[in-house]
Symmetry: C2
Subunit: 312 residues, 2 copies
Amino acid sequence: MITLNHLGERNWIKHMSAALPTRPDVVEGVGDDCAVVSTGGAHDWLLTSDAVIEGVNFDTGTAYQRIGHKALARALSDIAAMGGEPRWALIDLVIPPDVELVCVDDLYSGINALAAKHQVAIVGGDTAHASQLEIHVFLTGSVPTGRFIRRSGAQVGDGLWVTGRLGGSRSGHHLDFEPRMAEGRFLREWATSMIDISDGLAIDASHLAIMSNVGFLIRADDLPLRQELRKTVPYPTAIDHALYDGEDFELLFTVPAKRTLAFQSAWSHAGLCPLTRIGTASMDAGLVCLQMADGSIQACKAEGYDHFQHGG
Amino acid sequence: MITLNHLGERNWIKHMSAALPTRPDVVEGVGDDCAVVSTGGAHDWLLTSDAVIEGVNFDTGTAYQRIGHKALARALSDIAAMGGEPRWALIDLVIPPDVELVCVDDLYSGINALAAKHQVAIVGGDTAHASQLEIHVFLTGSVPTGRFIRRSGAQVGDGLWVTGRLGGSRSGHHLDFEPRMAEGRFLREWATSMIDISDGLAIDASHLAIMSNVGFLIRADDLPLRQELRKTVPYPTAIDHALYDGEDFELLFTVPAKRTLAFQSAWSHAGLCPLTRIGTASMDAGLVCLQMADGSIQACKAEGYDHFQHGG
């Protein structure tokens, strides 16, 4: 008997995707942060969905407002990772029958505040009862035609960059993070490939590497670790956290080496978040390696969060 | 302590909708079969989401292929009810960990077959584990700009029509129905208001009545009851089934009285499904009444399926 657990999430997605019906107006189907469809106008359309589920993506007892914020923020981060602007969302709410109305109001206040901040209209959805709380967000965004950023455009020699800081998202960041919308839009002019870090730096860098047919050499000393991580955890473990923990929701992207100075200058004048160059695209197709302070190099395990291995 | 059960689904939607953020490009938000957004081109865009949940929308043990079919068919029916054409879908799959891969394959074969039939591309989604099986379908469609059919356009004197046959959907129709896509598109030229019957004729006619600020007088003898219903159930109960059972997924719509003959003629030449005129729009705003064979008139209860009252 084979279940999805045996296959693993990523193998199952590959298996399932092969049989999906498509249409000529689909530019990108399954496999990037958003699907892309083209209708011939000034914009391409970005489609993404994200689910947060009690006991998987948040603990029972988490404040409802933070759950609502996280649900929409995850979907927004997918739009950011394509260089897009969010527009319209539908919310499917699955809720245990005994949840009080004030809690649902709190949940929606978390969704609505973030939606208003990023000019997202909540235009509908569906509601049902079940035993655990779930929020499914379906988000549509736009990008000037042909200007979305794929995972697949990195070239050997490109610099590998990351926004913000990494690791320790479980201390609260995974609930309260602000999706990098302005940074994503800015990067339309610069990035050759981009992804948001949802499953962990190692696995998400590996996605960029495989899709772009390059490798990445990451310098351990350059990883922008969260301050509290440096303090509380021995150094090698802190790096492990940054590599494998996931839910950083930072943007990971590549920029051609010859544009480095112009890019850094433009970024510094744009009022955006902190930025770090952490490595370089190499010829080792599909491989992500870590260079330690002593010069030694080790291959990263292409591991990260798998909903079928860890979800319960 | 107030829960959503106390409030009821429709009251909660009204409560929640009031606070939702919107945008200038939103033509219709919450409250019709789909949301409508306009981006200035040749088409308006229709957005809808529908969830089917084990133990609520299908019984445990239902064949997976039929569950997949129903999940997409419900969302398609929403697009049909606006007069639209479906384009792209995302699927959020929530699945118990012990479900076998072959079952998930069957589920997707039900989705994919119906998608291919109606030129729908499945472009992505999300997958997670939980204790009961759920399929959330997010579907985007299109309609020539301004040509979508609202619930709110019925005028006093318009004929009230329904496609196909009503009642007894629980004997299997709710799993196997074919959404009325061709009929919905055809009705762009004719219908002044339209809805698909998901919660039951009585409640869905009441939605049309309230949104259009008219009433409806329905002739009991003209209701197109499913053949097996006429045979197996005493007549008054069969009508009750047709009024309150739900999940018929037929189109309920109004056509101006003066266009009746032209409409019937055009319909009969278009190769569409059976069609019945069941009543007339009246001046009793918001009220749906039933005229019995003996001429007596009774008000229908505006009752139908409520996910919070019946869902578990």
